[in-house]
């Protein structure tokens, strides 16, 4: 049920039937690019809306819950404002790098979502080393942040960029290590296969304690890696105005903004894929009836349900925890998360060696 493979294949066959192979391939690529660009924009809009609402609920902010029906006009207003604002450029900035920075960030964010498996057969780029590729590409975004901070020729921006550089480089390790722990269990890096290994139970349930530890380590570290609160030091408003994107306005600012939200989605999607079974429905042991009902819900819905849950968790973190100081942040990574991760990795390796994993 609900297998997208045939649909995707029939589109491919149609294109190949109509055009010559080269043109068909090019068309396929264009189609994929367009779909993902649209997805990118929609995700951004939806997440901005959700963020506004959640934040408003948590902090009793009045505006976002009142504008339009259920606050929907707020997003429209946000988007209009960003589109219509004057693109201010700093006089003594390095123009080329200043304009390049938002694109690098967007490119990194966009590339990563191409690997996310939304449902069976609904994945643009299913390579053998999926997880490694995600870790690799998501580490490119930091270049954009560093460039943005430097080329703005502004001390707040520079400090923000330096902070984010230190932060991302450190927390990347924990993200990688916690995913590596899971790779020990799954035995593969390919995202579609990882999901298939969870047909008889999600890893967070059948992966014993290490999987649970790895889940929380991953969540913490990747929230830090995408610069979200409580780790949003690079753009700490109270000290750095707006951090590395202080000097950006209008659409260029929107690029940073969008990339941040899409990154949040990606993190949640990876967490879902690796720990929460991806698009696999929730099953409970031998309850055949219950399982059948669960199977009835489309996988893509399952996927987005799980992702929303994780995203809600992340927003919850952001709006309830106070922001860390930079030394606390680095101490947390190097003195607590990293050793814990390494211990967890060794522990999991022993478990796998003994054959106790699901």
């Amino acid at each position: 049920m609900y297998d997208f493979t045939t649909l995707v294949q029939s589109i491919g066959n149609f294109l190949h039937g109509q055009f010559s192979p080269g043109v068909a391939t090019a068309l396929e690529w264009t189609l994929v690019i367009l779909v993902y660009l649209a997805l990118y924009a929609i995700l951004g809009l939806v997440l901005v809306y959700v963020e506004r609402r959640v934040c408003a609920f948590f902090q009793l902010r009045l505006g976002p819950n009142r504008v339009g029906w259920a606050g929907t006009a707020q997003t429209v207003a946000d988007a209009l404002k960003l589109l219509l604002k004057e693109p201010v450029t700093v006089n003594k900035a390095d123009k080329l790098l200043y304009n390049l920075a938002p694109f690098i960030i967007t490119l990194a964010a966009l590339t990563v979502i191409s690997l996310v498996p939304f449902a069976k057969g609904l994945q643009a780029f299913d390579i053998n080393i999926g997880l490694l590729f995600i870790v690799a590409v998501s580490s490119l975004g930091v270049v954009g942040i560093l460039l943005a901070g430097w080329s703005s020729n502004n001390k707040y921006a520079l400090i923000g960029a330096m902070r984010s550089g230190a932060q991302i480089v450190s927390y990347e390790l924990s993200v990688g290590l916690s995913l590596l722990t899971m790779v020990l269990l799954t035995g593969t890096l390919q995202l579609s296969t990882i999901i298939e290994t969870q047909a008889n139970g999600w890893w967070i349930f059948k992966g014993h304690v290490p999987a649970i530890i790895a889940f929380f380590l991953y969540l913490t570290a990747s929230i830090a890696e995408i610069n979200r609160g409580p780790f949003d030091l690079p753009e700490a408003e109270s000290e750095l105005t707006a951090g590395f994107h202080t000097e950006y306005s209008g659409l260029k600012f929107a690029f940073f903004f969008l990339a941040e939200f899409v990154n949040m989605f990606t993190v949640a999607a990876i967490a879902t894929t690796v720990f929460l079974g991806g698009w696999m429905p929730f099953h409970l042991g031998d309850w055949a009836g219950f399982n059948a009902v669960m199977d009835f819900v489309p996988p893509i819905l399952w996927f987005f349900l799980k992702v929303s849950a994780v995203i809600f968790l992340m927003m919850w973190f952001k709006w309830t925890f106070p922001r860390l100081r930079i030394d606390q942040l680095l101490k947390l990574e190097w003195k607590y998360l990293m050793p814990l991760n390494l211990m967890n990795l060794v522990f999991t390796a022993i478990l796998v060696y003994l054959g106790w994993h699901g």
Binding site: D94, L97, F133, W150
Partner: protein, 177 residues
């Protein structure tokens, strides 16, 4: 199709590396280098060596270039430009480069590269098994030597960056009343 991509990537690599060498702004050079390294990763993906490509992205584009940019940020002076070299030096260097390139191309054209059988598939299992195989055709020893190399270099970096204070000042016995 693959050929077109190959030529596009090559053009990108060549032009960006030239720009990286010729640019007189430090950070721009680093950014062009970033482009070069990413494009090289593109080559690896093109020939289906996904693992190598991802490693190239992580280690070079995401790791080394970030370090380079980071260290340039520490010398924050946005107006800094390297001095323009003398035209005579440019001429000599250019002539040498062209001569070298001509000789090199000549040599490469004249000789056949011996073909090595590429592994059937370069998936992760093959990579892992080759990397950690102590027998013939395996690379366990270099793998371990590299880890020693990294340890040694790390010690070296730490010792250069270490704070200079005498042992007596920092020892807790002395600070205690």
């Amino acid at each position: 199709m693959e050929k077109i991509i190959f030529y596009i990537l090559s053009a990108v690599i060549l032009s960006l590396s030239l720009m990286s060498v010729l640019s007189r702004k430090l950070l721009r050079s680093a950014v062009y280098l970033f482009g070069v390294l990413t494009a090289i990763a593109g080559f690896y993906f093109l020939i289906g060596y996904h693992f190598l490509g991802a490693v190239q992205l992580t280690v070079y584009a995401g790791g080394i270039v970030v370090l380079i940019i980071f260290s340039i940020l520490l010398t924050h002076d946005i107006d800094h430009q390297m001095p323009t070299p003398d035209w005579s030096r440019v001429a000599v260097a250019g002539a040498l480069c062209v001569a070298g390139a001509v000789m090199f191309v000549q040599l490469l054209q004249g000789s056949l590269f011996s073909r090595v059988e590429a592994p059937e598939q370069s998936d992760l299992n093959t990579v892992g098994n080759t990397l950690l195989n102590p027998g013939g055709g395996g690379y366990l020893l270099p793998f371990e030597v590299v880890s020693i190399l990294l340890l040694a270099v790390m010690i070296g970096a730490i010792v250069i960056a270490k704070q200079r204070h005498s042992v007596d000042d920092s020892s807790p016995e002395k600070q205690a009343p």
